[in-house]
Structure formats: C-alpha cells, structure tokens
C-alpha cells in the first residue's frame, strides 16, 4: 500500500483544479495517478470503481478518496447531481441489482417446468450416491471404534483426507469438511480422545438422522440436508427461507482458511428482532470477496435466512439507506449464564451447531500468566476463555472496567470480533477483506 497520508495530500492539492464531490449516496473524484483516473464509490454498499488498471481491489485511488472522505469530510463539496460518468455507473449498478432480484423471484413458466423435471432427476441420482457414501462412512466409523481410537495416532494425514475425498465424491461435502477438521484433533490436546469421540459421535448422529429424514420435522430436515452438504439454490432459499427486516449491527468477522478456500464469516445482530445472522463468503486462490460489509456499523437492511430450526446463515438482499458507525452500548446478554442458556436452547433444537454469535454486555477482559491465558468475566464472576491469542488492545481499552464484547463462540472459547468501549466500537481479530 502506498503512503496514505501522502496520497490524501495529493487529493487535497489536486482539489483546486479538479473536483471531488459527494452526494449522500455516492462519492467520486478524479485522481492524478500515472494518468487521470475517475474514482467512484457507492456509499450504500461501499462498492468502488476506478478507471485505473490496478488489479487490487479496492485500488489505492478508491481508498484514498474514502480516507479523505473519512478524515476531512468538510473538504468535499456536496453536489446536487452527479456528472454523467458517475450517474451512468450508478444506474448500471442499480440495474444489475434489479436484474438479479427479478431473476430470483420469477423463474419464467415453461423453462422452469422442464428444468424442474431434470432437477428432480439429478436430485434422485445424488440421493442414491449420498446414501451409498454414508453406508461406507458408517462402516468406517464402526471400524475405528472397534480397533480403538488410539490407533489413529499413528495414521498419516491421508487417513482422514482419503475418506474426506470419498465423501466429496459421494456429494456429501458437509461430511468431508467435518472429517478434515477431525484430522487435527488427535494428539492436539490432552483430552483429544474425548474430543474426537464427540465429533465422531455427532457425525454418527448426523448419518442416523439423514436416514430417517422423513420422520424429522421440516425445519430440522433442512438443517440435516444442509449439514450433509446439499446446497440450496438462491430460488430455494427465497422460497423456503425467511426474510427479516431490521436495523442490523455489523459486528465483525472472522477468517478461516479451509481446504484451499478462504471462508469469511460476518456476524450481524438485529436491533429489533434480536436475531443473529451469519453472512458467509468464500474466496478461492486469493480472489477478493464479492461483498464488502461495513464492519462496525449499523444499517437498515433485509436479510434472507436459510431455512432451518435455528436459522443463522443469511444473505443480504437489500440495504436501505446509509450505514452509521456503532456508538451505543451493544444489545446482548447481561451474563454469561444467560448466553450459555441460549446456546443450550439452540443445541436442543439442532445439536450440530458449531458457532454462535456471543454478545455480552459489561464484561471485563482478564489477562492471566503474563498474556498466556485470557478471559472475559461478567459481573457475577463467571468467565469464558478467549481463543488463543493476544488481546492487549482490548485490555488497554477496558482498563479493567466493563466493556461490551462481540465474539464467535465455538463451544470452547470466544473469538472476539469487536468491542464497545467508551462509546466507540473497535474491531478485533483478522478483519481483512
């Protein structure tokens, strides 16, 4: 990245001759780089476009403009009408969004009919493949327990990987992902046999549930199918999922590298509905994530939730209005006990949930052993461990006084994604786009 202060400077100096202007929904300007570039930002989505040839996204010119707008908003005049080159782009974007929406809502008559038939055929074929795969998996699981889990200690990574690959071939990628995670358990901790057995047990429960799918109630059927790896098309999500309108707090995100794919989890919390939402994005081979979410902000928006007993995964369908930075105390649980009770209730509906959004009010970060162990402690003295890492900035901001904490809970530790301290929200952890 170039020196940003210097970049901002070049904006400011250019300002005399050129214009960089904003209207409430967009921001644009011309930047003198190797050539004169036209930079535009859609403020409702933070999407940027620049006429420069850079492959970095967003490019330095867009970042410079955003930085200027953030640091010295008064230096930008307000325009009533965008110039043609901006208006065209905004209109094109609007058009793209609408086309996407109409495609989702009205699959046209006959074509839909025939595609529906072939879809059914494909599903049947897949169903057979999955069931066959699960049979072989169950035999393999039984063998593991018969020979004893101690035997996996000496197994190479390919022991898990080849089984995972089989599950991918059997079109059950959800199972494959679970197997890959399990490969890291043996010998990783002192109580690894119990951890591994729990995971194997959950997997057995899942294959058991899938075989008697018709006996489960509809939302749980959705869960189990998704856990096995049946993906829902956008139309299916639209048809069976739930649309929720709210003032959403975009609390933060986590990044995980899973099997050549980078997974981004963005956690949202609805002010009115108190719903928690998880926006998932995937990127392969270092490509940028398609959507940019305004972390640490709130925005009125419609989210479409995937169907299920405890819907968490969602998709942002429509943003309404601009986003505002988070300033008020976070809504959330007043105690760790209340949070864990919520987790228990969710697990009672759907025992395979792996990650929860945890929003705790008034907890104190505690540093133990010179930074080796960290906790979040509530005012009753209950404490949950924080994931392995260092949280000096959080400790500095709290100063031993209560703060509001947003984190991802995986059943063992909290992975902080943001904190509210002294009326300002600070993102935590890896939040690169």
């Amino acid at each position: 990245m170039p020196a940003l202060p210097a970049l901002a400077k070049s904006w400011a100096t250019r300002e005399a001759g050129r214009t960089s202007v904003k209207i409430p929904s967009a921001l644009w300007g011309e930047c003198q780089g190797s050539a004169l570039y036209q930079v535009k930002v859609d403020l409702s989505t933070l999407s940027t476009h620049c006429s420069c040839p850079s492959r970095k996204f967003p490019c330095k010119h867009s970042l410079g403009l955003l930085l200027l707008a953030a640091n010295e908003p008064s230096s930008l005049p307000i325009a009533s009408e965008p110039p043609a080159w901006v208006a065209t782009w905004l209109a094109k974007r609007q058009g793209a969004v609408e086309r996407k929406q109409s495609k989702e809502t009205q699959p046209s008559g006959e074509a839909a009919q025939s595609s529906h038939v072939s879809q059914l055929k494909r599903a049947e074929k897949r169903q057979a493949l999955v069931l066959k795969g699960l049979d072989s998996l169950d035999l393999w699981l039984n063998d593991l327990v018969r020979n004893g889990l101690a035997s996996v200690q000496t197994q190479p990574a390919s022991f898990w990987e080849s089984k995972a690959a089989q599950m991918v071939d059997a079109q059950a990628p959800g199972i494959a992902a679970r197997l890959r995670i399990m490969s890291g358990i043996p010998n990783a901790s002192r109580d690894w046999p119990a951890k591994l057995l729990e995971q194997l047990g959950r997997l057995a429960l899942l294959t058991h549930a899938y075989r008697r799918l018709e006996q489960l109630h509809a939302p749980l059927q959705e869960d189990v199918r998704q856990l096995i790896g049946w993906t829902l098309s956008q139309e299916e999500v639209a048809a069976r999922g739930e649309m929720v309108s709210d003032d959403w707090l975009v609390l933060g995100q986590t990044l995980n590298d899973e099997e050549k794919v980078r997974v981004q989890r963005t956690w949202l919390y609805g002010m009115q509905t108190r719903r928690r939402a998880l926006l998932l994005q995937f990127s392969a081979a270092g490509a940028p994530f398609p959507e940019i979410y305004p972390l640490g902000s709130r925005q009125q928006a419609d989210l479409l939730f995937w169907p299920g007993t405890y819907p968490q995964r969602a998709r942002l369908v429509e943003r309404r209005g601009e986003f505002a930075p988070l300033r008020d105390p976070l809504p959330g649980e007043e105690s760790i006990d209340a949070f864990l009770a919520g987790v228990a209730a969710a697990l009672a509906c759907q025992p395979w949930i792996e990650r929860f959004l945890c929003v705790l009010r008034g907890v104190i970060p505690v540093c133990a052993n010179g930074g080796d162990a960290w906790y979040a402690r509530d005012n009753r003295g209950d404490a949950l461990p924080l994931a392995k890492g260092e949280y000096w900035q959080m400790l500095a901001l709290s100063g031993g006084s209560p703060i509001d904490l947003a984190a991802e809970w995986n059943g063992e530790a909290l992975l902080p994604i943001g904190i509210m301290a002294q009326g300002a929200y600070f993102l935590q952890g890896r939040t690169l786009q």
Partner: protein
C-alpha cells in the same frame, strides 16, 4: 470433567473388550435408550454424539474470583484523533524518524496517547524511545504495563516528583529493579549525597558485579571529596568492570590522593624547560600504575611508551598545564606539534579535556584534529580522530559554526565529513544555519552533473544530509524547504535516486508540518 468410561472403551477399541460398557452414566442415558439397538460400535458412537450435545448444552462457565484493580483515572487529556492517526502510522514504522519529535510535542502539550495505541507504544523496540514514551502513557499505560513482562521497562521510569523523594523510595531502593534503584540513588544524591553513599555502602558487599557497576555510577551526581574514601577502596574491587569506572571519578576529585599521584606522574613526563615543552616518555611500566587504571598493553599501532604517557596526561586537568607554562591552550598545542611525540601528547590532552570538560581546550583541540583530518586525506593515512568526541562538549552555536564552515568551504564541502557532524547539532537547527544549509543545498542540486560515471549519490554528503535535515529544520524554514527542487533533466539512475531522496525529504517535512498544525489547533 472426568473422562467418561465409554471414552476409554472407544480409545482401547471394542474388539479388545469382552463386555464393553458403553453407558454414559448421565441422565442422557434415558434418551439414548430410545436409539435403535444396533451393533455395539454404532451404539457407542450414537451415544457419544448424544453425550456431546448433552455436555455442550450443560456447559457452565468457570468462576474467576480475582480480577486486578481497574486503572486509575487519567490526569492528562487524550490527544486529538488526527494526532493519534499520525502517531499510529509512525508506530507502525512509517516516518519512524519523526516518532521522537511527535512524542516530544505530545509531552510538551501535556497530552497522552489514546488507549488503542498503548500496546504498540509499550512495545517500542529501541530503548532510546522509552524515555519519550513514558510521559505520554497516562495512567492507563502504566496500569497496562504490569500485565506483560516485556513491558516491565516502565517500572524504571518512576513518576517525577520535584526533586524530593517519594514516600516509597526506600522500599523501591530495597525491592526495585536495578534501573529503579539507580534512579532513587541519583535523586537522593542531589538531596543528601552522604546519605545516598551510605545506602550504597550498606548493600555494596552483597550485590553482584553488574549491579555494583550501575550503582557506583550514581556517585557521578554530586561527586565530591567525601566520596574519595569509598572510591579509593573500590579501586581494589573484585570485578574488573567496576574497577574500570573508578579512576575517571577519582581524577575529577581534584583534592584526592589519586589526583595527586597522577599529577606527579604527569609532571615527570611533561616539564617546562625554560618556556619550552620538555617531553620525557616513561621508560618502563610502573606496576603501581595498574591499580590506578592505567592499561599496560597499547592498541595495535600505538607505541607502548606513548600509550602510557597518553593515559597519564589524560587523567590530569588540562588547566594544570596552563598554570605550569603560563600559556593558553592554543599556544601549548602549537608547541606540542613540533615534538616527535606531540600527536600523542595532544591526544592525551584531548582525553583530559573531555574528562574535565575543559571548555578553553575543546575548540583549539577540535581545530587541530580537523587540520589533521585534511592532511590525512591528502596522505591517505588513517590515525585516531577525536573530533566526534570533542564536538559533543561544544555549545550548540559553536557546533553550528564549525559545521557551517566545513559546509561552505568548497574545498571541504565535497568530503563526506561534515555531514556526519549534523547529528551533533541541536535537535532544532538555528534559522541562520538552516538558511545557509538550504541555500547551499539548492546551489548544489542545481549544479549537479548526475550521469557522471563515477558519481555515487550515497557518497555525496548533501544527498546523505537530507534525512537528518528533514527532521531538524525549524518550522520557520518549511516554506523554503518545500519549494520545488528542480533537478537537471536527464535519464539516469543517479537522477532517480536524487528524485526519491528529495521526495522523502519533502514528505517528512510535510508530516512535521501537519503535526505542528495539529498541536497548534
């Protein structure tokens, strides 16, 4: 949580157990009973799955009884967000050269760092920055430092109490880090030198050599004849490192027997022969010298008799010779020059001038070394050069004069020498010096012939001076320094280098300008 029995069963393997007990022993067993009866492996797995959900749902948070006391309220207001942003990028390594300046401004403005920057500020790599960081940490920063062992350096900087000792001084003296204990002693020396010495004496025997070395150095504060007895004893210390720092202190107690010993040794070497210098080098090493810190073996390239002489002359106040000869330093130096061993004698005087901070001697000695360095350049020999050390004893104005003279003298200004003294100038250059620097730099840049085959920008003192100049030019010169620097039009790598160097120079100045604007808002 104890490992449930069925986990052990699974670990060992059902094949190896006649009657495998797979019950979890928890209330969840009643639910598990509803699962279909199947082979034992499958049953164990399904039970483990049910147990996992049961256990996770029933999880309770552990209790944490004690939490550290929260940080006290702040005494200083926090700096503005714009200043914080500038400091943040500097802490991350951008324009790092300006960090000391920025921290200095912050302290002068009686502001503190914002909380979010504290971890980075506490982690500054160079210890030289720590004194600048400490005053802007605020209460929160000091509170925070207790949790990370890498930040324990903060304890070495005690809160500044105006001269007086704080109530806990004696506790700190007994239990603190070496840095803290020295700080307490130094302060006590200013208030009650004898008491500080008696504190030191009371622990002297039990301390380790490296601690003794640090503690004894505190006697430099308020050094007087009363310290002589203790120091004289320390000449016999077990540790060579401790012994080594004592002679310089004793020499400065002019009434000490050490000083008298040295003076009589020196008088046997340098005598007044009817107004002329009479130099008689010691014929052999006297073993009694050893105790007084005189080193027997010289560095390579120095004769041993000259080496002994140099050390002895170096321990006697130079004013002694002004009295002996009734002559001014410059005249004495001129006379010494004629002698075969004159250079060694002058080196001895140079050492003495530094040790005793003999101001009348500093400038004439520096001039002599300067002359030598010119000669050396033409003859190509390298001998010692004491200009670096001597210049540190000069008042700021004199340093500027010296450097300016070298800078403007065209016969000298192409040599890389003057540039190395820029760091000895005060942090803020005087406007007179700065103007003359900028003016000469402009002429130099305009006259550059860059694509000469053997022109290397890195060996051009003007090129190298830009980095120092960017941090030290006073604000009054910013406009002049930021005016464009036209380089000769040409396409060469040297041109590229100069272009980048000038750009870095103006960038640094612009950030300084912004910093000042922010602090003056």
């Amino acid at each position: 949580m104890n490992t449930p029995h069925f986990v052990t069963t699974a670990l060992v393997g059902t094949a190896r157990q006649e009657q495998a007990d797979v019950a979890t022993g928890a209330p969840v067993d009643t639910l598990i009973a509803e699962l279909p009866a199947q082979e034992i492996e499958r049953r164990l797995l399904l039970q483990a799955g049910a147990w996992a959900a049961y256990r996770q749902a029933g999880e309770m948070a552990p209790h944490l009884d004690e939490v550290p006391a929260p940080a006290p309220d702040e005494m200083l207001p926090v700096c503005s967000q714009n200043i914080a942003r500038l400091l943040h990028s500097m802490l991350l390594g951008e324009q790092q050269v300006l960090l000391p300046t920025a921290l200095h401004y912050l302290r002068e403005a009686r502001l503190r760092l914002p909380y979010e920057l504290l971890p980075q500020a506490l982690s500054v790599r160079t210890t030289a920055l720590q004194p600048a960081v400490f005053p802007v940490l605020g209460e929160r920063g000091m509170w925070l430092s207790q949790f990370n062992p890498a930040w324990s350096w903060v304890k070495n900087f005690l809160p500044v109490a105006d001269g007086a000792l704080s109530d806990d001084a004696e506790t700190i003296w007994q239990e603190g880090t070496t840095g803290q204990r020295c700080e307490i002693l130094r302060r006590l020396r200013r208030i009650d030198a004898a008491k500080a010495r008696s504190w030191l004496e009371s622990v002297w025997k039990q301390e380790k050599a490296e601690v003794r070395l640090e503690l004894i150095k505190t006697l430099e504060v308020g050094l007087s004849g009363e310290d002589e007895a203790f120091l004289e004893k320390a000449l016999d210390d077990r540790a060579a490192s401790v012994k080594a720092v004592v002679p310089a202190m004793l020499a400065r107690i002019l009434t000490s027997t050490f000083a008298k010993r040295m003076t009589s040794r020196a008088d046997a070497i340098l005598m007044n022969g009817k107004g002329k210098l009479k130099l008689k080098l010691p014929a052999a090493f006297d073993k009694t010298w050893l105790r007084d810190g005189i080193v027997e073996k010289p560095h390579s390239g120095v004769g041993e008799r000259a080496w002994w002489m140099m050390q002895i002359i170096g321990s006697v106040p130079p004013s002694h010779w002004e009295e002996q000869f009734g002559l001014a330093p410059a005249a004495l130096i001129a006379m010494a020059e004629a002698d075969k061993f004159g250079a060694s004698l002058i080196e001895g005087w140079s050492r003495a001038a530094q040790l005793f901070d003999a101001q009348p001697w500093i400038e004439p000695l520096w001039d002599w070394w300067q002359k030598q360095s010119q000669k050396k350049k033409s003859s190509g020999t390298t001998t010692s050069d004491m200009r670096d050390e001597l210049i540190k004893h000069m008042p700021a104005q004199l340093v500027e004069n010296k450097v300016q003279h070298m800078m403007l003298d065209t016969s000298l200004s192409d040599s890389a020498d003057w540039e190395s003294f820029l760091t000895d100038l005060p942090v803020h250059w005087s406007s007179e010096f700065s103007e003359s620097y900028l003016q000469t730099l402009r002429q130099h840049v305009a006259a550059l012939t860059l694509n000469k085959k053997n022109y290397y920008p890195y060996s051009d003192p003007w090129f190298n001076s830009l980095e120092t100049a960017a941090t030290r030019l006073p604000p009054a010169c910013f406009t002049a320094a930021l005016a464009t620097w036209p380089l000769p039009e040409e396409d060469s790598w040297q041109h590229q280098q100069w272009h980048e160097q000038l750009q870095a120079f103006t960038n640094t100045l612009r950030i300084r300008q912004r910093l000042l604007e922010e602090f003056n808002k």
